[in-house]
Structures are given as C-alpha cells and as structure tokens.
Symmetry: C2
C-alpha cells in the first residue's frame, strides 16, 4: 500500500518526524486523503475541512498543500473522524468518513475507533496491520456541498495598536485586543 | 541567518513545499520559534500556543514537534502575532511577540505588519530583505505562565454511534453528534 505517493513504511517515518509518533489515526487519515483526492475531478483546486482536531489535520497537512496556517485547511470540531475536500470556488466536493458498518470485519480497528478497550489492552501491531490491510475498506465517500459563507475567513480590515498591551491587533476586535479583553490563556 | 537549523534559502523552500508560498509571516514565525526555544532552559519538553491562526501555526509545525493534530500546538485566536512555548508540566515559559516599538527602524516590515499600504504596493523583495536583516531585532521575549487548566485538552470519555448519521462521536456531546445538532458546515 502507498499513501500520498509514499511507500507505507516511508510514510510512517514522515509522520514520526512531523507528529512525533506514527499514530494510527494519521495512517487512516492518509488513506482518507488519497480516497478524497481520487474522488475529486482531476486538477480540482481544493480546500479541506476536517471534523476533528485530533490527528486528522496532520494527515491533511502532510499530504496536501492545505495547512492550518494558510487556511486552506479548516477545522470544524464535530467530533467525527471525517474530512471533506471541496472545490475552492464552488464548494462542491467529497466527504470521506470512517464507516462503523464496515468495521465489523476489522475487530482491532473497531475496538480502537469505538474505544471498546483501554489503550494498554490494544494490540498496536495488530491494529496497524489491520489498517494497512483494510485500506479504504473501512471508509465511505459521499458527494458533499460545503457552505462557503460559513467557511471563508473574513478579511481583516485594518490593524490597530492595543492601548493596553501595545501590540498590533485587528481593529475590528474593538477598543483593545482580545488578549486584553480577558481571552488570554495566561495567568 | 539560519532558521531552525536550515539555511535561510533552504527554509524558504521547506515553507514553499508545506504552505504553498514563502509567506513572510512564516519567516518571521521561524525566527520567533528560534528565539522562544533559546529562551527556554535546554531540554525543556514544551508545548506551544500561537495567538493567531494565520501563518504562525505553520512555522511552529515545521520547526518543532508541536502540531495541531497532536495537540501540542494550541491556537487561541487573540489576533496577535505572538507565540508562547511552555514547559508541558509546569506551564512556565516564554512569550515572543512582534514589538511595534521596534518596527520604527524597519519601514517595510512596519507597513506590512500594520497593513499601512495595500498588498499590491508592498515591495516583497524589500520586505524579505528587511526581515532577514532584522532577525530578532523586531521581537521581544518575556517570561509567561500559562493557565494549564484552560489549555489541556479534555480526555474523551467514550464513543457512541450517532443515531442520525450513524457515525462514531464522543458520547459527551449528547444524544446525537454535533454535526447532526446543526453545527455542520455543509448544505
Ligand atoms: Zn492588548
Ligand atoms: Zn450525527
């Protein structure tokens, strides 16, 4: 099996270097990326949505030009292991998700996805073997229309300097920056 | 100038391959990453927060093991071009930000950060040259204590299968998944 043009083992290494470990979620994610891409008309200029912040964003970032920082990848946390690639201009695309019905044949994958047993009881080698063998067999792809209004990042109008922290911030945020409005994660 | 162990030109190429273009924001971001890391005690196991989703997450993801998908990188959108690296266990760390006071010497960088002129009037070559020459000269680093309670990702309790879409989702989200609760970005 190849993932995104890489040999399987080679992809594990790419994942390890980026993500810190060869997490099964990213391997499944890589297979999802390939499936979504194959389902789009060739040469489609696409953006991506992932429906969870866990693992899946890294598969997309590693295998496409859609990243969080360039905003071609959007994360909408719906708690589902699913991604949608869609035409940047029309919003027409394809959604790929892990299909529970199809997990019946793959007990280790099923146990992992549905968290049926504690992590220390999972058999990692067996899980990776099943993921590699199953490939797209655990996934379903469906056409999907994205609501572009909801996903398009608003353009910043102008930049102000915050009178409290003295740092630049989007003027639309109000008289002070959001950090000084109490949204800061610092103590 | 080197960035994250890369030669400057080499880093531009790495950025281009990941982000799609050698965006100035990621170059500045790379310099911020190096500065934050140097300010931490050596061998600190750190997590990262960025205060904007624009560009900066990609610099962190390219140059550290903190990614969105492994959750060692958190994005808290405060609209400020700043990042904090902090000890994973104590929350103690360092925040690096673009310091407007220090921009006075660098008119092209100032114009770009504060959006003083429209994009088509910016001189890209001049901007990149100033960024490369200025290096850390436009940045300030300060000690920072992160509120760990706010930034620690909650552990999922258990997984249910949604009665509406038939997909797995975190049981804590309620009787149906968030996608079926109307949070979906699809039409
Ligand atoms: Zn402020
Ligand atoms: Zn649902």
């Amino acid at each position: 099996m190849r993932i995104g043009g890489y040999e399987f083992e080679e992809f594990l290494e790419v994942v390890r270097n980026f993500h810190g470990s060869p997490a099964p979620g990213i391997i499944v994610g890589g297979i999802m990326v390939d499936m979504a891409r194959d389902a789009l008309p060739p040469d489609t200029i696409f953006d991506a949505v992932v429906e969870t912040p866990k693992c899946l964003p890294d598969a997309v970032q590693l295998l496409t030009l859609c990243t969080v920082g360039n905003s071609w990848l959007k994360i909408v946390n719906l708690g589902r292991y699913a991604l949608t690639f869609y035409d940047k201009y029309t919003g027409q695309g394809v959604r790929v998700f892990v299909d529970p019905v199809k997990l019946e044949k793959w007990d280790e994958i099923k146990g992992w996805i549905l968290k049926l047993k504690p992590k220390q009881e999972q058999d990692f080698e067996r899980l990776m073997h099943q993921i590699r063998t199953a490939g797209r067999d655990i996934l379903t792809a469906r056409p999907m229309q994205v609501d572009m209004d909801q996903l398009t990042r608003k353009k910043m109008s102008s930049i102000a300097v915050c009178p409290i922290c003295n740092e630049p911030y989007p003027a639309d945020d109000g008289a002070a920056c959001r950090g000084c409005h109490g949204d800061s994660p610092y103590i």
